[in-house]
């Protein structure tokens, strides 16, 4: 289970390690469970602890984006490490306005 914190109506999920096709399934299931449980209107995916990501990570963001849209909510992607910038740019996600600088309040991580 990734670390997460609910603050107001905003759920932050702290992703870490490698995100590839193998690990994405577990991360997806855990994140979706947290969304169901907390029903946030904003889902913040914090990539600060991610060492590696391939296009499986893009699929992961897109999937959560669609899910949150369905609930009338939105997704923010924050704290993207330097080595993930290029794949994030390549993904076309910037057109969906999901990138945001990390908000530094509400830091009591569960």
């Amino acid at each position: 289970m990734p670390k997460s914190v609910m603050c107001g109506n905003e759920l932050t999920v702290y992703l870490s390690g490698d995100i590839d096709h193998h690990s994405a399934r577990k991360i997806r299931e855990a994140t979706d469970a947290l969304i169901q449980q907390n029903q946030p209107s904003v889902l913040k995916l914090n990539f600060g602890g991610v060492n590696f990501m391939d296009s499986s990570g893009i699929g992961l963001i897109m999937g959560r984006y669609r899910m949150m849209l369905l609930y009338g909510g939105s997704v923010k992607v924050v704290n993207v490490p330097e080595n993930l910038r290029r794949i994030m740019e390549l993904s076309g996600l910037s057109g969906l306005n999901v990138f945001e600088r990390s908000g530094e309040f509400c830091e009591s991580v569960k």
Partner: protein, 156 residues
């Protein structure tokens, strides 16, 4: 004269081959093995990350598409050529690709339910200098990735 240059160009300085089963748990192994071999060229962290990412995409294609629900063998051959060029061949004996041009189109995927973004080949193309795909339906696919590692100043 020209021929001599071509022969020079393809001189193989070092080579390794690794074969493993198409289990998703081997994806990390595959990209790490290739990165560890390429490390002898003293690449930048960025270049190594590009290679890791491109290999991860190619191997994931083998796991998800070539062999689907079955398990088969994936073989990766890495050659270090003269002029700091790395040539990586990822080969499977899976189902093959019917329409390679279509498969390489960004956002095209046959597995949207698995949340595949359809960006595998786009990532390989963006992160490598040359991407070649050869495929025969029913007998498998070979993806060749070429990338030149920038020479480090002061390296002997």
């Amino acid at each position: 004269m020209f021929l001599k240059e071509v022969v020079n160009f393809v001189k193989v300085l070092n080579e390794m081959t690794v074969t493993f089963e198409s289990r998703s748990s081997n994806e990390a192994f595959a990209r790490s093995a290739v990165a560890a071999f390429v490390a002898q060229l003293d690449p930048t962290i960025g270049e190594l990350n590009d290679i890791r990412t491109a290999v991860s995409e190619a191997v994931t294609n083998c796991v998800v598409h070539a062999y689907k629900e079955s398990i088969g063998k994936i073989s990766i051959n890495v050659r270090i050529l003269s002029d700091n060029i790395v040539c990586i061949r990822i080969r499977d004996k899976g189902c093959g690709i019917e329409d390679i041009d279509k498969a390489m189109e960004p956002l095209f995927t046959t597995a949207p339910e698995a949340e595949r973004a359809g960006l595998g080949f786009a990532v390989m193309q963006s992160f490598c200098d040359i991407v070649k795909v050869r495929s025969n339906v029913g007998s498998g696919t070979t993806v060749t990735l070429n990338k030149r590692i920038s020479p480090r100043v002061g390296n002997g």
